[in-house]
């Protein structure tokens, strides 16, 4: 296989309402990106997006996983949860709109900035969800 075709794949399970573990996956992703020498600014953008995804899975979903694929020219982060979906995507993408629980708010989240932050930090952002279904967020970062 040519050097440029090699990819590194990382996958982390994220549990529902596991507030004390939230951030572990993103911390590991950040560590790996730093170890392989990715530019610090890119690492920070990926870390922010991965962490917001992780927090979203913990706060809003029935659990899920975060997958990261690192290739020679880009990093893809996919946050995929088991539901229960987002009723109104347009509202969810609006800064300040949130449906977070009091527990999440006490931890400093639920400001309605999560999805907008993920969109802002990534080069390409896509989200698929509907009420009662799984949510899948894909973010691409150019290296």
């Amino acid at each position: 296989m040519a050097e440029s075709e090699k990819t590194i794949k990382l996958e982390y399970e994220v549990g529902k309402e596991e507030f004390s573990k939230a951030g572990l996956a993103s911390s590991n992703i950040k560590k790996v990106l730093n170890q392989i020498g990715i530019d610090a600014k890119v690492v920070r953008r990926v870390a922010i997006a991965a962490y917001e995804s992780e927090i979203n899975i913990v706060i809003h979903s029935e659990g899920g996983k975060i997958t990261t694929e690192i290739s020679h020219d880009k990093i893809i982060v996919i946050a995929h949860d088991k539901g229960n979906g987002i009723e109104n995507l347009e509202k969810a993408m609006t800064k300040g709109f949130s449906t977070a629980s009091n527990e999440a708010r006490e931890m400093g989240f639920g400001a309605g900035m999560g999805l907008p932050n993920m969109k802002r930090t990534s080069d390409q952002f896509s989200i698929e969800s509907s009420k009662g279904a799984e949510t899948r967020v894909e973010m691409i970062f150019n290296i």
Partner: protein, 118 residues
């Protein structure tokens, strides 16, 4: 502003990272909303907050932000301090309110961060 200067101005107690007090911060951001911290803050910023949970440290970690002041006399637990030490962060605790601590630092020359426009 050096962290040791901030410590004196705030009459702060060092909770972690005593060996890093010569670090410089360029600006400060006062906030209890971690998502806003993630949205607006860069490294070399001093974060002032009333939240003391693990997610404050995780948030700081993602941003390469290493310096945190806890206000209103709040102190994080041992696990939080341990993680902060592992990440080479400085944690300080002050009795002031968020408003007062921010005001004291501002009066002594530490400015605000710039928020990018839409």
């Amino acid at each position: 502003m050096l962290l040791r200067e901030a410590k004196e101005i705030l009459n702060a107690e060092i909770l972690a990272g005593e060996e890093y007090m010569e670090r410089e911060v360029k600006a400060a951001f006062s906030c209890d909303l971690m998502s806003d911290v993630l949205a607006f803050v860069d490294d070399k910023v001093l974060l002032l907050t009333g939240l003391t949970n693990l997610q404050v440290i995780r948030t700081a970690e993602m941003l390469d932000l290493s310096n945190i002041v806890f206000v209103r006399g709040k102190k994080p637990d041992d696990e939080v301090c341990r993680l902060a030490k592992e990440k080479k962060m400085v944690l300080m605790g002050v009795r002031h309110t968020l408003f007062e601590a921010s005001g004291l630092l501002y009066k002594n020359g530490l400015g605000a961060i710039e928020i990018e426009g839409e």
